[in-house]
Structures are given as structure tokens and as C-alpha cells.
């Protein structure tokens, strides 16, 4: 069964040391991802349209809101991996591109010697199982190295293509606002489509085209992020967190959380530390 060995939360995001033997379904989130192989079975990730085999030579980079999934690639047993979740504020404060402020330039990161050393240092820090003032600096530097490498030699996307991809239809925007306002309720896609002034199929198609993920996935993301926030920042019980997010039982909430985050919510709370 998949589990987390340790999770650290800090100013720029969080890092988790996972032992995964089950797939994580296609999902997306606001935070960017860096996924490093540490030990055990190798991992195969689908990042957007690209398949990335994570091993000691290659890591995966996922931009904010980019759909991605995870599976263990071979029979080497569970995959131990270091997973970074980087808040968009890191990109906003460090990006040097006015056109692509919020993305990595490539999905594959070569494990250079400096990057491997940072993986080792961060992994060691997580294995210490306690908060550390070093964490934010480590996460920051590791992300910077990977970000810089991801853009090295990358062709620039045309200006218009860049603008088009960012100028999202106002009806989709409206549906996003509605989802944010009511994600803890029983939101139906039919209702969202109607409130956005679109037929259900048109809404679904337009949302997927412009946001890269389906409305259902977007809703799942909002729920999962709020769940993590509640687990870390409140004293609410796991059961109450699930109820507040609209789940009818702790079991259904745990199933949802595990398939989206990788481990059960109670495990997450147990192993997580705030730096």
C-alpha cells in the first residue's frame, strides 16, 4: 500500500517522500511539481502529452495546472520518490519570462550532479522527521536549478499563441468562480454549464480546451487542496474535514484523498511537518 514517509510544508511549497506502489490517476493542481526517483521500482509519469520515465538519470517537471498521472513502471517493488509541490508564488517571484511566467520549459529534467546532491540533501532533511529552518532554502534552490535547466535551449512559443492560451473565455472564468464558491457542495456539471450560458457538451469541450483539464478534475483539485490545507492548518478531525468538503462518509473522503494525493489523509497529517 502506498504511503508517505515524510512531508514538509514551507513558504514556497511542500516536499514529500513517498513510497508508492499504486497508480495516481490523472490530476492537476495549482502547484508545480518536481518528481525525483530515490529508490525501488522506477516510475512512469504521463505529463501532458509526454511520457517520462523517472529513474536515477531523469526527473519529471509538471507546470501548474498541467494534467499528469503516475504509475510504478516495473517489478522493482514500491517506488520511493521525492515529490516537490511548488507554489505559483515561487514562479511569480523568480520567473524571468514575461510570456511564460508560470511554467517549466520541459517535462524532463536531467539529473545533473548538483541536482542529485540537492535531492540527497532534501531527502535527508525529510528523513529527519522534524521541521527544519533549512527547508525553505533547500526547496528554493532545488527548484531554481531545475527551472533554469528546463528553459535552457527551449524555443519560444509565439506571442499570439502565448496570449491565446492565457485569454480564457469569460464563460469558463465564470464557471471557475462558481466552482470556487461552491466546491464543497454537490456541484453538477449540468448546473455549471447552464450558469455559464453553455450547453453541457459545449461547456465540457471549451473548459477542457482552455484549461487543459476537465471541470470534474478541476473540482477534485479544489477539494484536494482544501483538504490538505485543513489537515495542516486546522484541528478538525479527518471525518469533519470530509463532511465539510461535501463527502458523505470518512471512507469516501479517504478514497478520494488517496487517489488524488497518493496517501490517506490521516497518514498525511501524521507525517507532515511545517517548516
Amino acid at each position: 500500500m502506498s504511503g508517505a514517509i515524510s512531508v514538509h510544508h514551507g513558504a514556497f511549497g511542500r516536499a514529500a517522500l513517498y513510497e508508492l506502489d499504486k497508480p495516481i490517476i490523472t490530476h492537476a493542481h495549482r502547484e508545480a511539481h518536481l518528481i525525483f526517483y530515490v529508490d525501488g521500482g522506477k516510475a512512469i509519469m504521463q505529463i501532458g502529452d509526454e511520457a517520462v520515465l523517472a529513474d536515477s538519470n531523469v526527473a519529471g517537471a509538471v507546470s501548474p495546472w498541467q494534467p499528469h498521472s503516475f504509475d510504478v513502471a516495473d517489478a522493482g517493488g514500491p517506488c520511493m520518490c521525492l515529490v516537490l509541490y511548488i507554489k505559483p508564488i515561487w514562479f511569480l517571484e523568480n520567473s524571468q519570462s514575461v510570456e511564460h511566467a508560470l511554467s517549466f520549459g520541459a517535462s524532463k529534467i536531467n539529473m545533473t550532479k548538483p541536482i542529485s546532491e540537492w535531492v540527497f540533501r532534501l531527502t535527508s532533511l525529510l528523513l529527519e522527521q522534524e521541521g527544519s529552518e533549512l527547508f525553505d532554502g533547500f526547496l528554493y534552490e532545488m527548484t531554481r536549478l531545475c527551472y533554469d535547466q528546463s528553459w535552457r535551449g527551449q524555443p519560444h512559443v509565439g506571442f499570439m499563441e502565448s496570449a491565446r492560451s492565457k485569454y480564457v473565455d469569460f464563460r469558463v472564468r465564470r464557471s471557475i468562480r462558481l466552482m470556487k464558491e461552491s466546491f464543497a457542495d454537490d456541484v453538477e456539471i449540468e448546473w455549471l454549464a447552464k450558469e455559464s450560458g453553455l450547453s453541457r457538451p459545449h461547456f465540457f469541450k471549451l473548459f477542457k480546451k482552455q484549461m487543459g483539464i476537465t471541470p470534474n478534475l478541476y473540482l477534485n483539485t479544489l477539494r484536494a487542496e482544501q483538504a490538505i490545507d485543513d489537515l495542516m492548518m486546522t484541528n478538525k478531525t479527518v471525518t469533519d474535514i470530509g463532511y465539510d468538503l461535501g463527502f458523505s462518509s470518512q471512507a469516501s473522503f479517504t478514497r478520494f484523498f488517496t487517489s488524488n494525493v497518493g496517501i490517506p489523509p490521516s497518514d498525511y497529517r501524521r507525517v507532515a511537518h511545517i517548516a
Binding site: 505559483p88 519570462s97 499570439m160 496570449a163 492565457k166 472564468r173
Partner: protein, 377 residues
Amino acid sequence: MTLITYLTRVHFADGVLEEALWSELESGRKKRPLILSDDAHMKADLAERLLSGLPTRTKPHIYSSIPNIPTEVCARDIAARYAEHKCDVLLAFGTSRTIDTAKVARVAIAHAGSLAGFTHSQGGSGRIGSGLPDLYAIPGISGFGAAVSAYAPLVLQSGERGLLMCRKLIPNVTICDPTLTIGAGARQTASAGADAIAHCIEAYLSKSYNPPAEGIALDGLRRAIANLPLVMADKGDIYARREMMAAGLNGALALQKGLGASHAISNALEAVSNAGLNQGDLKRIALPGVLHFNREAAPEKFDALQGVFRLGKSDVLSDGVNRYFDSLPLPRTLSELGLDIEHLKAAAAVASSDLASETNPRIVGETDYLAIMRSVH
């Protein structure tokens, strides 16, 4: 001034609005924003972008009765709403009048009683305390000056005009997203461009010593004069729109160096007409006349500006700037704005006491102002 400070936290990138807003509210732990914006912005598609950028479990309230010039009455009204809804941050979205209104409201929220004692003329800058609520500013195609400056004009309860001036008024965060200008009309675009050009030229010429601001002003001017025609030709080019927003931001960042007579004239005419005149329109008309007035005050800087406009040695800068502006769909005389000679006389008196008069490269008084305005009437 010789204290150089740049200035606040500015996000500038294509499509950055939603994520920057979300991230800033999230890291500031703000949950109850009071959104200030005029009706035109809140009825537009842009409002959906703003609202969809709010984090989950945020409870926004919207205030859209924004006056042409910020007033004490409006600021008190906003303060009452802020308290009623237990808000924890102000978001000002759209134009300079909205952002300036938000600045005045910050003082009203933090301090009970009349705002007259906080105005610059009453020595009130030091009385503006540290308990101001946070303000995040999101300029649209215009409003950059308000978004990064420490000033806000206002009409007091008594009907008198005043100026708030304090570094604490600078918005805590400013978000500049060039994609917000896609879809702006030709008139609006031209007016915003003229405003940016006037800010850059006047900040560059102002007699304060601030070399970085001069560099920023010249860079903004180059970007503006090269790209405004491209945007006006409506080639659908986000690059040119981005460059125009950069020019607007440059002009706004440079204006801490001080401005000049065309700014004073524009403010004064806006005040005496009370007709909601557009600053870009007014500066398009006033700037050539002011440059003619200033023509011998700063010869080296005039040479540099001639170069940016690609004018020959024998050309006259004020004529060259006027020709450039003639290509824009903007009014060319003050009479086209419905202003008569009485407006001009009243404005001349007001302009002569504007702070911008003090940094104009040539000493300028009421009689000079009237003569300049008559020359472009």
C-alpha cells in the same frame, strides 16, 4: 529629491492576473476583500477574470460607486462597508480614479474624523498612521500612476480640494497583466498611450535629480512611441500591447522624480470642469504647448528627446510631438472638450499651486499657465 526607492511589489507578465491575485491573497491570508471598481469594469468580461482569480473560501464584496475625483464622502462610505463586511484587504481594479479612491479610503478606514487634517497642505502626511489596510492595485489599460505612487487627490467634505501624500499610501501589491488590454477600444488605447508619453517626458524633464528615474522615463518613451502606432493599427499583437503597458508602468515609476506643467494643467482642468475629463486627452492637448514653453529650459534633455522622436536638428520638439499625437483619434484643442475661457482662468490659478509646478524645468506661474492653455484652446 535624492532618496530613490523603487517602490512596491509589481507583478508584470502575460496572463498573470488570476494567479498573482490568488497567490498574494493566499500568502497575505486575506479572506474578505472589498473590491473597488467602476461599473464599466464590473460589467465587462474582465470582472469574471478578477473574480475567478480569488482563492477558494474567499468572501468578496463589491463597491462600484466610484466618483470622477476621489471624495471624502465616498471614502467614508467605503470605510463603512469595509467595517460592515469585516473586510481585510482593498482590491482596486481598473482606472486611476478607482485606485486613488482606494488610497483615500485606506486613510478613512484607519482614522475616524475629518480627512482635512491628513492633507499635504495641512502638514498631514506624518499623521497618516501605520494601521492602513492593505491595498492591492490592478490597473487596466491605464491607472499605473495611481498604482505605484504615494499620492491621491481628493475633494474634502467642505468641497475644498486636497492632496494626500505619504509613502504608506503606495499599494502593497500592483498586478500588471498586458492581456487585460486586449479588447480595449482605439480611443481608450490612444488616450492611455498619450498619458504614458506625457508621464515619461515630464518626469524626464523635471528638475529633480534622479538618474534612474530618467533612464526609466526615456526607456518608457521609446517603447511607447514605437508601439502605440502598432496597437492603434489593431494588428492584434500582444507584444505591442505589452510594450505599451511597460511604457505606462515606466512612466508611473519615473513620476516619483516629479512632473511638470502639463500634469498641473490636466489636474486643474479636470478639477474646475468637474466633468470627468480624461487625463490622456488633456495631456495630448497640453503637452505640446508646455514643451514650447519649456523649450530653452533644458537644452541637453530636449536634444535627447529629439533623438527619441527621430527629429532632425532643425525640427522643433513641440511640433514633432504634436505631429505624433495628430495621428491619434484624440481631441486637439481644449475647446473640443467643451472648456471655455473661464475654465482656463480658474484652472490657471489651481495649476500654479500644483506640486508638479515646482518640478517643471522652467518657473511657471498663473499667467504662464493661462497663456499655455490659450495657445491650445
